[in-house]
Structures are given as C-alpha cells and as structure tokens.
Amino acid sequence: MEAVYTLIEMVVKNIVVVLVLMGFVAYTTLLERKLLGRLQVRPGPNRVGPFGLLQPLADGVKSFFKEDIIPDEADKTIYVLAPGISLFAALSMFAVIPFGGTITLLGREINLVIANIDTGLLYLLAMATLGEYGVVLGGWASGNKYGVLGALRAAAQMISYEVALGLAVIGTIILAGSLNLGEIVAAQEGMWFIVKYPFGFIFYLVAGLAEINRTPFDMPESESELACGFNIEYSSMKFATFMIAEYAHMFTVASIVTTLFLGGWMGPWLPGPVWFLIKVFAVIFFFIWERGTYPRLRYDHIMQFGWKVLLPLTLLNVVVTAALVALGVL
C-alpha cells in the first residue's frame, strides 16, 4: 500500500510542479516585456486585460491559430522534434531542484523536490547540454542557411561555455562536500555561498547567460545579422514551444543560481517556496535588466572571451577555493 501512495505522491507532485512552472514561465514572458518596456521608456504590453495581465494567454491563443509551416528543404522529423527536445530538457532540469523543505500533507511527509538524487548537480549539467541540441538541430533541420549559421554558433558557444559553467560550480561542490542539491542548500545555512565564493557566482552568471543564449550572448538568434537564426523557419506552436523552452530554461537557470549561491529555499519567517520564488525572480529581474542594458557582443569576441578569459579565470578560481578550503579559511 505504501508503494501505491508513493506512486500517487510522485505523480501529483510532477503534475503540480509542471503546471505551476508553466504558469510562472508564461508570466515571465510578460514580466520581461513589461520591464524591457520600462527600461526603454515605453509602457510595454498594456491592452489585454488590466495592466496587460492576460497578454500571455492572448499570445498562446494567437500562436495556436497560426499556420504551421514546414519548409520543403527541411528534415521533417528533426524539424518537428527539435522544439520538443528544447522544452523537455528545460523542464526536466527542474526535477532535481529543491524548492522547499518538507511539508506535512494528509499525514504524509512530503519532500519539496521531485527527484532527490545523489548526483543532482551533474544531472543539471548533463541536461543543460541536451537542451542545446534543440537549438542546434532546429537550426540545421530548417534547411535555411541562416538557420544553419545559428545552429553552428549555438554549438560552438555551448562547447566553449559549458566548460566554464562546469568549473564555476566546482567550488560549491568543494564547499558543500556533496553533489546533492538538497545538501548544498543545507550547507548554506547561516552563510550563503555567494559570500564565501563570490567569483564563482559571477562566473556562473556569465556562463549561464551564454547557456540560455541571452544578450550579450544571444548569438544563435541575433536578429540583426541572422534574421532570428535557428528559429527563422519556425511558426505557430513550434515557434511558441521554442519560446516556452527558452523562458523555462531561464527560470531553471535562475533556480540553479538560487540553489547554488543564494541559499536556496531557506530564509526567515516566510515559507520555503515563497523565499525560493523571491530569489528566483530577483535573478530573473537581473537577467532582464542586463538585456536592456548591454549590446550584443561580436561572435569572435564571445569565443575569445570564453576560451582566453573565462576558462583560465574559472580554473584559477577552483584552485584558489580548494586551497582556501584545505587551509581552513572558508
């Protein structure tokens, strides 16, 4: 009987988390458009519903009724699969992130994380690489030269920044002594890792921005030179799926930053999930803010920065952090 209850708990938890996550993702798009508007001294979307609050719904309905085009030159199977791969990876990354402690519901202790696995951090890195396949394959399968260029850029950028991303989180592993995200959160009780390990936080933010292809690293879809790059041929729900995946990925990366460096769900007075959301949206606010602030970098500059600046710095950071921990300073 216990097994059945566990199964029901897992299923319900999955469904609830995915639905809530999708809701937040939908409203992240509105937040981005509103904030970007304010940053550029214009009101942003404000026609659909009060303060434009129904805009995500309207966007969803609109893209649903658009004509779905598959180009003649496209590799049909991969063209259809690519947005799904993106969304799958972005959503499944969220599975290992703890968004609260334990709550008691109907006499059962429920752990507020979907999968509490031993190698959670590595799982996140693995899934992050898979997410990029959606972009690369989507661009290639469109049979469009701009699409292929976007795909190539996405692949090169991912290979370059994945290394720095992995090296940036090693410090947190050293400090927490675990790859389990729950234990990493627990290790930050009293002192967040952003205080102990500030450079790792900065490097992770930079490499994370490159991973989710946001300005200044939005090479795969740079409108001004590639005419939207990898998603140039996509329309209707496939395009919308790419968009949802992009924002879900942004939400997930913000959650990872929160979990690894900002003390996760822990905080005084308020319940865990509320603290978690506050911190996540603070990070998302930063992502939107910097998008409104910085111009796009040039492609070769991004590559040079990744290999010649970020990689040596993150390596040095790992060595210094390990030495400080060994000496007992941290």
Binding site: A3, D75, I78, I117, D118, T119, L122, Y123, L125, A126, T129, L130, E132, Y133, V136, L137, W140, V148, A151, L152, A155, A156, M158, I159, E162, S178, L179
Partner: protein, 177 residues
C-alpha cells in the same frame, strides 16, 4: 514487493538493451551523417540507463554529460561545418573497405558469442556492494578510487588528453610565411 522490483528492473534492462542495439544498428546504416550522430546519442542514452541499473549513477550521468552532450555536440558541429550531410555517399556499392569491415565485424561477433557461451563465471566481486555504495555515495566512491588507488592511470590519461590538445593547437596554428 521485491519480486515486482526485480521484474521492473528486468523490464527496463530489456527495453534499454534493445534500444541500444537497435539505435546502434540505425547509426551505422543511415546515409546522412547527422542522423547517424543522433542515433549515436540515443545509444549513449540507453547505455547510461544500463549503468543506472548497475548502481553506477555517477558513470551514467558522466556518460550523458560527456558523450551524449559535449562530444556529440562537437561531432554535430564538425558535420555541419564541413557540410558532410549532402556530400558523403558511397561511389561503389561493393568496395574493399566494406568487405573488410564485414569480415572483421563477423569475427568480433563470433568472438563475443564464444565468450558468452564458454565463460560461465559472472565476474569478480569487488568490495563495493550496492548497500556499501548507497552508504558511501556513488560519486565519493568513484572519486576515492580515481584519486587514490588509480591515480597514476588517471594522471596518465589526462596527460594523453593534454598532448592531444597541444597537437591540435600546433596543427591549427597559422604559419608565418
């Protein structure tokens, strides 16, 4: 309860093993190199599932991260960069390379079959049982072995990789004429 657990494991093993064999067959028979690369990713995934069934979660995740993620991304990048996907076709249907490849494959297959049918022992038992691994933590166990008992082999492997990188940089360097 244990019976159901083992049955479920057996079921997952059969599915993962079938997918692994099927996708590797698909990989070697596709004309388009991009499709081959994608089937290879599927193979890596199903092999990762087999590792999970063997209680080697660290190896499984590392396999997905390094092989299915980074290395295959590099392979895709190279295929797209030099436009292999519209070029590489066999000019003749019966070439010498195909014949040799076939012979070698059949020999290897027979060798494996002979191994399976003559060697009955299930292999050596290591010191790490499933219970001990769960107690110690998978990553900790692998890390302890890599940086303890096998540190020499580990360092040799890393130097080998470093030599590879240096060689690649040397080849790609612009010559000053």
């Amino acid at each position: 309860m244990i019976g159901i657990g083992i049955g479920f494991k057996w079921f997952i093993f059969v599915v993962a093993a079938l997918v692994a064999t099927g996708s590797s067959l698909m990989m070697v028979t596709r004309k388009n190199p991009i499709h081959s690369a994608l089937w290879l990713i599927v193979t890596f995934f199903s092999v990762a599932i087999l590792y999970v069934l063997l209680n080697a979660t660290f190896i499984a995740v590392a396999q997905v991260m390094v092989y299915a993620g980074a290395i295959m991304m590099l392979v895709l990048f190279v295929i797209m960069l030099i436009h292999l996907e519209w070029g590489a076709q066999w000019t003749s249907s019966r070439s010498f390379a195909k014949l040799m490849g076939g012979i070698i494959t059949i020999m290897l297959f027979l060798q494996i079959l002979a191994g399976v049918f003559t060697y009955s022992s299930v292999g050596q038992h290591g010191i790490y049982s499933a219970q001990k691994l769960a107690e110690l933590g998978n990553t900790r166990a692998v890390g302890g072995l890599l940086y303890g008992k096998y540190v020499f082999a580990f360092e040799v492997a890393s130097i080998l990789l470093l030599v590879g990188i240096v060689g690649a940089v040397l080849l790609a360097r612009k010559r000053k004429d």
